[in-house]
């Protein structure tokens, strides 16, 4: 993607609209009480190839194209979308969107379109995976199947899928800005089921990002994901019942960062705080975590699944310090909420597709590394749980209670990692849990690139990360009562 004014014309061409037409439509929306409007053009090609029972028998492809037209008046948003990108449809959508302000049709003022300044390119992909021959993806899945089954004879079922999408977006707003972006995204997901003595268990792993297809062959990634899924399935065959009740928990580095996403991430989305429905409302400047905790949301990491050059309103993403040494500093915002709350615009306005209204969403959310070593942390625990891998989680941002479910965990006894235990759900209170972080290691890792966040019916790709940390007390939802 070249970074010049030519590239934005290319975007206009992709969608078959001219700058003049965009301006005309904008003029129809931006009348009287409408203080902001935007058009979000999207063209997405998505493809998925999957294998089960050692056969790559499923392949599907979807093409989705359309435009979302938005008008905001104060706190209100009017929205219309269409999969036909023609001037008449755009004008119809503009009428609907404008209805929110109850403004009659009329000539509005829209400044001339300014071609945006070049944006950095966090994911300059030269050969999108959507253009790689299906045969190559099939070959990769077959290699994965062979490796997984060779790992251990107890591996009985292997499911693997490769999904990729290539999304081209163009955002034009009533401030005259025009920004385009090309967003590739790929993901490899592997599940293995192991069986022994009539007992069956599952292990899952995967990864990806905004990368070339070659990414999965670099640094032995596909091999590592495959072995991890197989290893976890075999390990879980030996897992015993997890304990029940409050315990000290050591969280491993990487994907366990989902703790932050659920405990504080959603609670710091500005829309909830503007409405004062979040447990973190009116708490900027207050202590919400131990002083060992500095947590950021960073959309600027190269090639990461959760990263974006610009958010879905055209704002460049940034690295926002949410919590600094335990003190709450920032909410993550989109344009509407930043404007209404009078707080900085952080570039977190995201939407699942042109069919959706954007709202504040996370990008890559992680805690900065500390001074301890993982060995010191585990050695300091007399009795506790060591949780290294998780499934998903969920949060009630109003009362602050959150959960996330371990998929690989062990007991810690007298400073040593001992028996594997079955995955249990951990539950805690967002505003309280991080105050119980008493040790933070120096081994920050981000997840491998498989996270999807759901909010209000919209899914977006995200990243999470964590160094090894010690949480003095959290409730472990096992079945073994002491």
């Amino acid at each position: 993607m070249t970074q010049s004014s030519q590239s934005d014309n290319k975007f206009l061409e992709q969608f078959g609209v001219t700058g003049r037409e965009v301006q005309t439509v904008m003029g129809k929306i931006k009348v009287r009480d409408v203080d902001y409007a935007d058009l979000y053009f999207e063209h997405t090609v998505a493809e998925s190839v999957s294998m089960e029972e050692s056969l790559v028998k499923r392949a599907s492809k979807s093409i989705s194209q359309g435009v979302g037209v938005r008008a905001t008046a104060g706190e209100k948003t009017g929205y219309a979308y269409s999969d036909e990108i023609t001037l008449p449809q755009l004008e119809r959508a503009a009428d609907t969107a404008r209805y929110i302000a109850r403004s009659p049709a009329g000539e509005g003022h829209a400044p001339a379109i300014r071609i945006g300044t070049p944006i950095r390119d966090l994911y300059p992909v030269t050969q999108p995976a959507t253009e790689v021959a299906t045969a190559e993806k099939v070959a990769l899945l077959e290699k994965i199947d062979a490796l997984a089954r060779a790992y251990d004879p107890r591996i009985k079922n292997v499911m693997a899928s490769f999904s990729t999408e290539y999304k081209v977006v163009l955002i034009a707003n009533s401030e005259g800005e025009l920004v385009g972006d090309v967003q590739p995204l790929s993901r490899l997901q592997i599940s293995c089921i192991a069986e022994e003595n009539g007992s069956r268990q599952i292990g899952t792993h995967g990864g990806g990002g905004r990368s070339n297809f070659g990414f999965f062959f670099e640094e032995q990634r596909w091999e590592r994901y495959t072995r991890e899924a197989a290893r976890q399935a075999i390990l879980n065959l030996q897992a015993t019942d997890a304990p029940a009740g409050p315990m000290t928990v050591v969280m491993g580095a990487g994907w366990p960062g989902i703790l932050l996403h659920e405990a504080i991430g959603h609670g710091l989305e500005a829309d909830f705080n503007r409405k004062k429905t979040s447990a973190f409302s009116d708490r900027i400047g207050q202590s919400v975590a131990s002083d060992l905790c500095t947590i950021v949301d960073d959309g600027t990491l190269a090639y990461r699944r959760g990263s974006l050059n610009v958010d879905d309103e055209g704002t460049p993403t940034s690295c926002t310090v949410l919590i600094e040494n335990g003190i709450l500093r920032r909410y993550i915002t989109d344009k509407l909420n930043a404007r209404l709350m009078g707080i900085p615009l952080t570039g977190n306005g995201r939407r699942e597709s042109f069919q959706c209204i954007p709202m504040p969403r996370m990008t890559n959310t992680f805690m900065l590394p500390g001074q301890s070593t993982p060995e010191e942390i585990i050695g300091s625990v007399k009795r506790g749980l060591y949780a290294v891998s998780f499934g998903g989680g969920q949060v009630d941002i109003t009362n602050g209670k959150f959960v996330f479910s371990a998929s690989e965990a062990y007991l810690i006894e007298d400073g040593k990692v001992t028996t594997p235990v079955k995955g249990a759900t951990l539950i805690g209170s967002g505003p309280e849990i991080l105050k119980k972080v008493s040790m933070v290691a120096n081994d920050l890792a981000l997840d491998d690139g498989i996270g999807t966040c759901g909010k209000d019916g919209q899914s977006v790709p995200v990243g999470v990360g964590l160094p090894t940390i010690k949480v003095d007390e959290i409730t472990v939802g096992g079945t073994q009562v002491e």
Binding site: K57, A59, K61, I63, Y79, Q201, V403
Partner: protein, 446 residues
Amino acid sequence: MRIDQNFTMDLLNKVKKKGASAADVVAVEGDAASVQVRLSAVDKLSKAEEKRLGLRVYFGKRSAGASTSDFTPAALDDLVETTCALARAVVEDPYAGLPDAGAMATDIPDLDLFDSHTISMDRMIDTATRTERAALAVDTRLTNSEGADFGSFSGRTLFANSHGFYGDFRSSNFSFSVSPIAAQDGLMQRDYWYAVGRKLAGLDSPEAVGQEAGRRTVRRLGSRKVPTCRVPIVFDPEMAGSFLGNLCSAVNSYAIYKGASYLIGRLGERIACEAVSVYDDGRIPLGLGSKPFDGEGLPTRQTVIVERGILKSYLVDTYAGRKLGLASTGNASRSIGEAPSAGATNFYLAPGAISPETIIQSVTRGLYVTELIGFGINMVTGDYSRGAVGFWIENGELAYPVEEITIAGNLKDMWMGVEAIGNDLAFRGRIASPTVKLAEMTVAGG
């Protein structure tokens, strides 16, 4: 352009010309609209016409699917090209193929799924506003709101395949909900209630929905943890529905043949007590999960899943059926462009004879669960661990609200431990259950 039988025939002909041995087409088009209000002011309005088409082609035993929302001739030619190319790239699958021609549905019953009445944006706004007002009026501690929303969808589904089957039907869906917030002593609680249906006239009143939401929210104030223990659990109908949904996933033939269900090999065996009977019925008039034919064009029907505690059937589509040596139960479900895969239609647990109040009264010490959060269910093993919200039951009464606890166990034991089923079955979704009492689960708390 009219999307009808001729349209689908044209497309199937194009595919045939490319050498495909079989194919099917699914198309959905409709109008969607939604409004959100908050504190009596309109917050969001959204409206659109949606359409999407999925094509699935077979070259002998190889198949693939693709979908698009662009119905212009050029785009459809592309779609045919792409799908055929994809199909040639995958390997042969001995079980692939359309259902037998003789199995296709021969009649398309009218299940009363479409409301010819429409609702204006203004009326949607008015309904949502009244719902929120009614919720906040329930108690002075209800001082805030996430908002109330109203959504409507009205559309048409078409399906055709190269056996010559063609079917279409119209359907609508209306729903509204409110999420009020109560505050006390610097802490807040949120809950919600909703109404959903195929017809506008059949929806609950905004006042009834609002009042129920307000009541459910305010009763959560003062929630506390309880100490870790093992006690009986009573699921309210919504949570019993979630529990039933876990069973629904476990009897899905896709999970069975993948090796990813704890109910593999259990057909004909006892999985629950005599009081438990579970059905899947795709022909209930007005049913939220009803459809006249399934995602492969087979007739929908009523299937007995569990009969007096014995597992009688899985939910089966043609492909999984061939792999498992079972007949399709007419439960093929379809994501546009994807292969058909089994899914529930209207899936429910038959009601018992006791009232929910009597069930609660039968518990000396236990937990009444009104909300579950998290995804801690392992379908392969049945292991279960989820966050819970509800009420502590003491001597047959709801004593105080509870939160920040988990309930854990195993789905096999949970179903075998069902001790009582209420008489309060109401269809508020595709999966429906009365109140259910389980013998024991581990509650982890303080």
